[in-house]
Each structure stands twice: as structure tokens, then as C-alpha cells.
Subunit: 283 residues, 4 copies
Amino acid sequence: KDVARLLIKCPDQPGIVSAVSTFLMNYGANIIESSQYSANPEGGNFFIRMEFSCPDLHTRRSDIEQSFQEISTKFNMDYEFKYVSDIKKTAIFVSKELHCLMELLWEWQNGDLIMDIGCIISNSENAEQLAKSLNIPFYYIPANKDIRMQVEEKQMRILKEHDIELIILARYMQILTPNFVSHYPNQIINIHHSFLPAFIGARPYERAYERGVKLIGATSHYVTNDLDEGPIIEQGVERVSHHDKVDDLKRIGRNIERSVLARGVKWHLQDRVIVDGNKTIVF
Amino acid sequence: KDVARLLIKCPDQPGIVSAVSTFLMNYGANIIESSQYSANPEGGNFFIRMEFSCPDLHTRRSDIEQSFQEISTKFNMDYEFKYVSDIKKTAIFVSKELHCLMELLWEWQNGDLIMDIGCIISNSENAEQLAKSLNIPFYYIPANKDIRMQVEEKQMRILKEHDIELIILARYMQILTPNFVSHYPNQIINIHHSFLPAFIGARPYERAYERGVKLIGATSHYVTNDLDEGPIIEQGVERVSHHDKVDDLKRIGRNIERSVLARGVKWHLQDRVIVDGNKTIVF
Amino acid sequence: KDVARLLIKCPDQPGIVSAVSTFLMNYGANIIESSQYSANPEGGNFFIRMEFSCPDLHTRRSDIEQSFQEISTKFNMDYEFKYVSDIKKTAIFVSKELHCLMELLWEWQNGDLIMDIGCIISNSENAEQLAKSLNIPFYYIPANKDIRMQVEEKQMRILKEHDIELIILARYMQILTPNFVSHYPNQIINIHHSFLPAFIGARPYERAYERGVKLIGATSHYVTNDLDEGPIIEQGVERVSHHDKVDDLKRIGRNIERSVLARGVKWHLQDRVIVDGNKTIVF
Amino acid sequence: KDVARLLIKCPDQPGIVSAVSTFLMNYGANIIESSQYSANPEGGNFFIRMEFSCPDLHTRRSDIEQSFQEISTKFNMDYEFKYVSDIKKTAIFVSKELHCLMELLWEWQNGDLIMDIGCIISNSENAEQLAKSLNIPFYYIPANKDIRMQVEEKQMRILKEHDIELIILARYMQILTPNFVSHYPNQIINIHHSFLPAFIGARPYERAYERGVKLIGATSHYVTNDLDEGPIIEQGVERVSHHDKVDDLKRIGRNIERSVLARGVKWHLQDRVIVDGNKTIVF
């Protein structure tokens, strides 16, 4: 389809929308959806996401992008053109628990998550059969603390082979090194099984149980080098009670995790998420 | 404050955003917030709400509005300029139950609902003391089916005296005649104590109880001549169980009603609601 | 496991809990969970569900049940003993859309739904491969209005062969005849894709779209001869907006449907649901 | 009314329900509501709350309580009889922000919170007029870190004069000393303006904003000497977005706070909350 999304971040000032929309109009583009956000109308940053259709977009891409430089320079913009026809290549990392992987595969099959799954990488063999039944390349790479470097080398080689643009950690229970993370800035989405910033780190359900909370949650976020401290994309919660033991929390939590991860991934794939410092703007 | 909102509805076509934003830029206006909606990018209607600040807006209003006619004609627009400094004059109608009225007064005192409450009209004396304690004119007008015409005549006289632009039915338990409603198109907001279109009409909690529903709700909507059939602005629900008797449903329902009405009114006061046929677009 | 559930309905009066709990104690039983409900402490019905563990339960079942008759007669009880070790045999009916079926199979594989799936019956071949991959007998029975009788005859023959105790309509898009329904009182659970009693009947998402509601829902209920009027077990809703077209409502709705059906089925399997007239008590 | 609630905690073993219910039956009592919880059926604690009506309860109280000692000794019970006719005497502490106080007063006037408000104590004069309009004694006691001891002495003198059994901190922004807290074990309910254990301590909304969370919450809990670490009674959340500034979070948060505090207080007043270690069981 001849549909693209233009994402812009720049210092706020009058005239931005006018300049961009006039630029698009001159190419015969029709703006389908537009969302904007002023961090602070006086002196802050301005963010906008415009989704537009444009006749013969595929042949005029480079022309459009080149012409846009004048505006972007004038307004001091960070910007990206994203094309709906460029299906994003993703890799899913998973460990033993498959519920998040299954949800992603399901929504992908339904057409709700539009992506090209290049591979599934796991430190467990649990997902192998599932991957194969869908003809998705599966790589079993055993992992532990002591061999982290070698493991990540193998993983990065595979990711490059498959031209991966987005890594989804669908309950992958290994910590990634700063080296690995630095290769994929804002391109790794993790699901953390708590309502961050509560219960950062390991064993969140056990700790939620011990604390006696009345709601449990999950958080999907971009991965940075600070464990569980990256920009939050989406969060969800469900009610629990004193009747719920740790296993019940885990069971209830699985449902939160899978929907919160799926929503986060979906918004990323639709180019709705802009990272601003350690926060996200979700258009 | 020199802030205004421009609400537009017109046939969708390329160039609208460009024309409007360029127009505003030429007045030195800065767009603070903008939301748009294409009912159908090919051949449907286009809706946009732009909130902008503009230096010396109060002295340039008529100039701006007049200049805008050229664009509006070109694109065949229905449009309105709304000024934040024009605080809307409202009347609250209430019967015996005061919870919705109290919520509105509370949020109004908090600064969350920015309006000028011209008067409170009631067919019960319950609210009198409350109104007086806040120096809001209170009119006690007993009402019933048989004297509907006379009652509405009195009410309309009062509404005119106070230049009322928005009538809020905060659990006012009398039906308004088509004549009354026709004087205030999309200017009367009602709270219905059910999740419409379930339980249209009288005694919704009793009927919800009899049906054994597991969630109850409330709906704020504009009033039209079709009872409980007007454009829905907002809805909310809460969980109930077999333990809850009719009185419990009413008690739980009161909390839903007050927040659902307050949100609907707030969005109207912020010029966020556009009525499109029998639906609302809430920007 | 030596765990059972005793479900009782009887006229309310003092002494019921004392009699039942003393009876259980005399068998060395420990009450694990107990929930009760008095429709009206003065003159209404009393309902109780007691889950208890009892040493050597499997060998003492008939002894216990026989001894209980004295109490049940005294208090004029309707009652049932249900044994956790008697895994319920279920049949899943499905049409083209598989999301509800998939959710049920998934939770069943996870151990969250403890049942013995005797067969999957469908008027479409979509589910065949899925059923076979899990070694569940699959019956493809094309259906339409004109051959309803013959279709149901075949279905009932299969249900009998497999000793089915619970039929789950996981988006089965055919209406069942009174004859069929009468064979399975309170043993057929359907998922209706609206928040009942709103949008009874066909095309609920289309009608929700036309009405402009701000929340959509789904309802799991026992099937009776009144279409979509049977006792409601569970309901859920999600927020929607003017941006959501019919297809979006369907997509959002699928997630509500699958979780609302799965919860309803789970509670039934755990013997938590007592039907009282046209309502349910969910313990 | 001749209604009481019996709350029991004891080591789990067969026969407890039988003993208690038979005891009550022998007094002609009818059990209206009963909820129980086994922390661990093998070797853990057992908790039960029974609400019962009993003819002439007011004249037979001491008789019943004395007779119960035999059972309580046999099963090694911690227990309490609570009588619905003994309306609890409460004190509300508040600082500048009145929304939580207003909600409590409102629900109290509605009959949803059944308590006898002995006094309102504040370090601000904001609530004075409101208190006086309802004929509730109001004490203005300026407070700060340096005079904490003297302030608490005054407060405790007032609390004793009014026979206060429950202290509600309705956004009271002073820290209580261990000495004060020790006088009211599990008798002080606080509302913390975050979803604990996230954002313990000061300025939770500011920190939620900085962290970029997508949901904000509030927590009502009993006060212990560990700041914001006491047993949680109830929690709630609402969705927020990047559009919401700190002031928006506070505004949205106010609505969560008031309902979460009101529910926590209500359950306490209905004797539904049992503290077990650092957790609550809410029946």
C-alpha cells in the first residue's frame, strides 16, 4: 500500500504543522491520521506522527525524503519516514514459558501484528516444535551467565543474517550485556512481569505475594542497560486477593503479560512509539 | 487566556490540514493540541479539533473568523471557533438524588470543570441548601406529567434569563418534551443509569438485577427526542455479583454515574465532542 | 485427589451450616473452601458450596452420599456431590473463527482448565488440523437452517458416544433447537459477542458500531431456549472510541470473548456456578 | 439490629466450622454471611468471618462471649465478636487537600460508611467550615517536624476524649511517630498516593511522571512504623498517557485516592479485614 508514517521531533514553534502538511499536500498526499504532542508549548519539544497515503509512493520515496531535508533543517527536526510496505523483520527470544510467544504468533497469524518473523531464538527447546510447525527458523542456544559473551555472539550473527530490526523478549530469562543492547537501541522490547517500578528484578510474583498487593501487573518496555529501567511502552494490571497463592499470581499474570507485550509490540510495529529520554510517547 | 479551539467537519480531501495550519500560522498562532479523524479517507467526512494560542486573540477574533470564511467555503466546512476565555454558562437540573450534582459542584470548585453555573433547577427541594451555600441561584419548580408544558415554560424563561448554553441533567427524573429539546440541540447532557443500549427507560437497576448481569454501567449522552437514544459521549461499568441486591446496584451505580457524567460534561466544556449523526467523536 | 465439592440449595433457616459441617467432620473431612449466599435471610433460599478433602474419599463416596440423605431431607435440600477426580467430559463446538477454541485449548494445555475434551464438532473445517495436532477427535458436520434436525441428530449421537457432560459453544454460529437444548440443561455454555442484554441476536459488533457505544463487551451464559436470554455466568468489556471501525471492534472483541468464555468454563468446571432461576450464583 | 460478626484465626484442623456453627445454632442464630480462608490446609492458619443475626442479641452478648471460651480454647483461637449496633468511633486527620475527606463525609451522609465521626483533626484550617457545617468537632493543630511530640500529645488527648477506635488519615501529610502508632495497632488507615510498593515516600506523582508510567494508582493500608510498608487493604489504578503532566496525574489520582480510601475504610467498618502478619485478608 502507498501509505507512510512521518515521525518528527523538534523544538516547538509556530509553523511546523503548516510546513509539513503543505509539503505533503504538494505531493498529493492525504493525511489519514495525525497525532501531536507539545511537551511544553513554550520552549519544549514538539512531536508529531502523520500517517498519509500518497499515489505512487514507492517510486517517489527518495524524491520525497530528499525534498524534506529543507524543512527538517529549517525546524531542526529529528525525523523518520516509515513505509507500511516495509514489513519489519523481527526476532523473538523466549525461554521455557511459551505463553507470550504463543500470543505473538497467534496475533501475527490473525493479521493483528504485521511483521516478518525472521527467527525464534531460545535457551530452551520448548518452542522448537511450535516454531517449526509455522516454518519459522528456530535456534536453540543454551545460555547461562558464564558463557554470555559466546551466546550473544552467536545470537548477533543470526540476527544479522536475518536483518532483524526488532527483538522481542517474550519472557527470555537471560540478562543481555551492554554490548548487545548497544547494537539495538530502542529496538528491543521486553515484558517484565510486574507493574514497574514495583518489583524490579527477579521473582516479582513471589515478592508481590509476600507484600500482599491487591493488584498485580506487567510492563512492556524498551531495554536499556539499566535493568527494568528502560522506557515504558505499556502496562496492565489485574485484581488479586488473599486467596491467590504465588502460582495463582503467575497464572493471572500470564494473561496480563501476553496482552501487555502484544500491545507494546503492535504499537512499535505501527510506528506509534517515540522514545523521548527515558519515556515514550505513544501516538 | 489567548487560547481558542477550532472545530471543523468537512468532506475529506488532501490539503485541509495544510490550509488550516497555514492560516493559523499567518496569525502567529501556535497549535497546542490537534486531533483529527477520517471517517473514511476515500469519500467520507474529515473532522479536526485544533487548540491554539494566538497573541492578542481577544482583539483579533472577528478578523480571524472573517478571514477564515474563504477556507471554509473552499473546503465546504462546518466549523466553529471556541474561545477558552468564553466560560460556558450552564444550568444543572436535578431531582431528589444529589450525588451527580455534588460531583459536578465538587469538580467545579476544584477547577476541573470550568463553567459558569447560572442556576440549579429542581423538582425537589433537596438541593436548595447546597445551592445557596455556594451562591448559585436555585429554582424549585415542582413537576409532573400533567403540568409538563407550564413547567418547561418556566424553565425556559429562567434558562434565557441566565443565557444558558448547556443544560446538565444530573439525575433529573422528568422527561423533556420535543419542544424543549428542540431549543437546545446537542446542548443537553443526560446521565442514564445503565450501560446503553441495555435497559433503556425506567428502573434500569431493578431490571439489571432481574437479568442477573455481572457488570452494571452508566452512560452520558446528548438528549434527543428518542428516549435514551441520543449520541453517547461516555460510558463506564463496574463489576457486581450475585451478592448485590438492587440497593447495592444503586449504590455502586451512583459512583459510576457521577464519574461518567462529570467526564462527559468536562469533554463538552473543553469543546472535545463533535456530534456526527447519532454518534460522537470525542477528541 | 480426595477432594470433593458439596453444592446445596435449600430454604434458609438456622442450623444448616452446623448440620453440614458436623456431618463432614464426622467423616474426618477438612473444609478447604466454603462460600454461601442467602437470597433473603428471612424466607429466601440458602446456597452453599463447600470444598473439602477427606481421607479415602474414593472408597467412601457412596457411604457418604447415602448418609447425607437424612440431612438433605430434613432441610429440604437440592444438592450434589462433585468429585475433583471425576474430570468432566466436554465437547467444543466451533465455526470458522477459532480464537475462542484456541484460548480454551491453550488454557487446557496449561492446566488452567481441567477437563477431558471428548471431541470438537464444527460446521467448518478450519479447526481440523488444530484438533488433530492435539489428538482430539474432530467431527466436521456441515450445518444450515434447513438440515438442523439431521445435524443435531448426528451431533447428539457423537455426544453420547463420548459421554459428554458439558458443551462449550466457542463461537458456534448455528442456533440450537429446543429439542437439543432440553437434553443438556445448564450444560451448554455459549459466548455471546456483546454485553447482554445489549445487542441480543445477530451482528452485535455492527450494531454497537452503529449505536456509537464507548465500551464493547462479551457474555458467557448457559443456553436456554430463549436466544441470548439464558443465565449469565460472566461478562467483560473494553473501551473503544470513534476511531474504531467494525473490524476494530471485532478484533478488540475477540480478546474479550476468549477470556470471558474461558472464565465461565473454568468456573463451571470447578463447580462454582449454581443456576438459580435465570441467574447464576458464582462462588 | 441484632447482628454480630465473629472473626476467628486459628491453626487449621477439621471440625472448626462444625464447632462454631453448632455453637451459634444453639443460640438460635442464623448465619447471614460466612467467608473463610485456609492459608494452607495442611498446617497453616484458618480464618473465618461469620455474620449472624441472633434474637435478643443485646441482652445475651456476655453470655455468648463467655460460653464461646470453651471452643476458643479447644481450637486455640484468636477471635473477636463485633456488634453491628456498636457504631465505631472514628477520627479523620486531614491536611490541605480535602478530596478524601469530602468523599468520606459524603459516603457517611449517604449511609454507605456507618461510623460515628468523633472529630476531624487538621494541621490546616481548610476543612474547618466543612466540619462545622456538619456539626463535627474540628481541631486545628498546626504541625511540623520540630513539634511532633507536642502535636501528637494534643492529638492523643483529643482521641481519648472522643473514645476513637479508628483513625483515618485522609491525606494527612505529617509522619506519625512510633509512639503514636503503637497506641493504635491496625487502627490507623492511610491513603498513599501511589500503587505501592512503587513510589514509596514523598512526591509519588512527580516520580511517576518522571518514570513515564502508563498507569497510576493509590493504596489504602494500615499504618505501621515502616513508612508505607503496612498491610495493604485496597489498591486502584487508572490509565494515564504521555499527555498527562504532573498536575493531570494529581487530578486523576485524586479520584483514585478517594475511592480506594473509602473502600478500605468501609471494609474495616464492616469488620471484613483481618491482619495476618503484614498482609490483610479481606472477606
